[in-house]
């Protein structure tokens, strides 16, 4: 009844993508103090750039004439190429990945512009929230750009061609490979944020978060630091969008609404501000909630045919808020506390003071 392998793979994939998004938001807000309420915009842009580029690239690279990417025939064409032409499929996958990261970086650069203009950082939050809403509206109601309500479908797993090479005629192998790749990227993003935040640059981020004016009287170019963190954060979010589209097979505005932005905020708050491990843990909890309520609704429908599945999908939000409330009561600072900036200087001090080697909390 429930496909265990499929469930596990979807769990791993969603967890990986959510973790990247949470790490990115945590870098921007937890460390850098830039409240990004437009995370879904950077994520969604990565997704749509990927979908549009892939749809056209597959045709260009196989020397076919371009057509409207929204038609059923072009969708079928895309899927045929993905299962039969590995080199073209992988090339399109790689090019769209690099492009979406670059687009994310450019968007982050543009987004940092209001960050430089506003004195209260929460105005930045509002500007980005509005930008994200505009993005959804444009892509939802423009039937050419992102194929409107239906979205751009037919973006197959880039390893679909593996099916014909293996004896078992099942998509398990490509799914397994792709999930592993998502996890690999998650790990890379984790290492990236750990290195960035446990360095002199990490100190700059926290100083801008704590008091940007004092930071500038200490010679720090606050505007530059804000721009840098927005560029890094939003290219990570776009990377997640690229991974997600190839996983789910369609770029649809439904997945990139501001509701989703706040889910990422819940993951970050749950895990703990300014703690990369916490971000991953928070993403894990919310993924679990998300996946288990989904499977719960499938099971309920199977046993009780008249059951309204909406109840379960709404219960997800209820449980999310319950989790937040419990958190505020029992662990107001999140599951994991903010740690010290782990540099050789800290090691030198802790060694001389005779501290335990793995102690990395503030006292």
């Amino acid at each position: 009844m429930v496909d265990i392998v499929g469930f596990c793979l979807s769990f791993v994939s969603f967890f990986g993508i959510y973790a990247i998004l949470t790490l990115s938001l945590n870098l921007e807000y937890g460390f850098g103090g830039q409240p990004n309420f437009g995370q879904a915009l950077f994520y969604g842009m990565g997704a749509f750039v990927t979908a549009i580029l892939t749809s056209n690239l597959l045709l260009i690279l196989t020397h076919q004439h371009l057509e409207n990417i929204c038609t059923i025939s072009s969708l079928v064409e895309r899927e045929t190429i993905a299962t039969s032409n590995p080199s073209v499929t992988l090339l399109a996958w790689a090019i769209s990945g690099i492009t979406s990261i670059v687009v994310g970086a450019i968007l982050g650069f543009i987004a940092s512009y209001p960050a430089l203009r506003v004195k209260e950082e929460w105005y930045l939050a509002m500007v980005l929230l509005v930008a994200a809403q505009i993005f959804v509206i444009v892509f939802r109601y423009n039937t050419r750009l992102g194929c409107g309500f239906d979205g751009i479908a037919g973006i197959s797993n880039p390893f679909s061609w593996l099916v014909s090479l293996t004896p078992i005629n099942s998509p398990v192998i490509p799914n397994l490979v792709y999930s592993a790749i998502i996890l690999l990227f998650t790990y890379l993003c984790f290492v990236l944020t750990e290195r960035l935040t446990n360095s002199p640059f990490g100190r700059l981020l926290k100083s801008v978060r704590d008091d940007w004016l004092a930071s500038s009287t200490l010679g720090k170019n606050v505007n530059k630091i804000r721009t840098q963190v927005m560029i890094i954060g939003s290219s990570m979010a776009s990377l997640a969008g690229w991974l997600y589209v190839y996983y789910i097979g369609v770029a649809n505005t439904e997945d990139y609404t501001s509701t989703f932005t706040f889910s990422i905020w819940v993951m970050m708050i749950l895990g703990g501000f300014a703690n990369n491990r916490g971000a991953v843990v928070g993403a894990f909890f919310i993924t679990a909630l998300d996946r288990f309520t989904l499977i719960g609704s499938t099971l309920l429908q199977a046993y009780f045919p008249g059951f309204n599945p909406n109840i379960i999908s709404y219960s997800k939000y209820l449980l999310e808020s319950l989790l937040l409330l419990l958190l505020l009561v029992f662990r107001p600072k999140g599951i994991m506390k903010e740690g010290v900036i782990l540099t050789p200087a800290y090691r030198l001090f802790s060694l001389r003071m005779g501290e335990k080697k793995n102690e990395r909390n503030y006292s």
Partner: protein
């Protein structure tokens, strides 16, 4: 005659019709300890804000090492060698004492690309750490190295501010009430740090309420009252000045 390091020419600044700083022109000599005193609300901190680029003046000019700096931004002034502290200490309260101390000095790891590779900035970091060990040791702050700045006492915060300044050893430091609230037994340590800075050719420009605390070490004193400069001279001249006594309305200056 020694060289002038800082000069303000006719600085003025008003807030809502009240002249906080009114036509203030003064000079600070290199390698001196110059003190600016005055009652509450006399415009001392506003003048510091203007010199350090935190506030913009309505009129007048500021020169630092013979260059006009009136329109430069705080971070540019810092890179030229001008350092300031705030009256209500503005530290980074979510960061530890050690992290605060290491922050002011530039590092190759400030660039996010280099930050990814520890090898590039490791040596920088370790030499800063050695210096921090010495500086924090002077003020007995070493045992608090991983306490958040929000969790140490007000006096210790003042000391931490000075420690951060000593990490940089700036050409000119503007100190806004550096010894207010500091335990009396620590004041000699701070003064010897000041004098050591002066011997190294560094300049200190200090705001205090009263001259008494700094009488021993001050080279030159300016007095402000209601936004204007009302007197200047050596500490001995200032305590005898009738106008200054009047401004303090019966309270003793020295």
């Amino acid at each position: 005659m020694s060289e002038i390091i800082l000069e303000t020419r006719s600085i003025s600044k008003s807030y809502g019709g009240i002249k906080a700083v009114d036509d203030v022109s003064l000079t600070v000599k290199r390698a001196s300890i110059t003190v600016l005193i005055g009652p509450n609300g006399s415009g001392k901190s506003t003048l510091f804000n203007i010199i350090s680029g935190v506030d913009k003046a309505d009129g007048g000019q500021v020169f630092f090492m013979n260059k006009e700096i009136t329109h430069l931004l705080p971070h540019q002034l810092f890179q030229m060698g001008l350092y300031r502290t705030f009256q209500n200490p503005r530290l980074f309260f979510g960061m530890s004492v050690l992290e605060n101390t290491l922050l002011p000095n530039n590092s190759r790891g400030d660039n996010p690309l280099f930050a990814l590779f520890k090898r590039v900035w490791q040596d920088d970091e370790l030499s800063k750490a050695e210096k921090a060990w010495k500086v924090l040791g002077t003020f007995s702050l070493v045992p608090l190295y991983k306490n958040r700045a929000s969790e140490i006492s007000g006096g210790q915060i003042k000391l931490l501010q000075l420690a951060m300044m000593l990490m940089v050893e700036p050409t000119l430091t503007l100190l806004d009430e550096p010894i207010a609230g500091v335990a009396p037994n620590l004041i000699p340590i701070i003064f010897s740090a000041f004098q050591e800075m002066r011997e190294k050719g560094k300049t200190l420009f200090i705001i205090e309420h009263r001259l008494r605390e700094l009488f021993e070490i001050a080279d030159f004193v300016y007095v402000m009252g209601r936004g204007r400069l009302i007197a200047s001279g050596t500490p001995n001249e200032i305590v005898k000045n009738e106008k200054v006594k009047e401004e303090y309305l019966g309270t003793s200056v020295a």
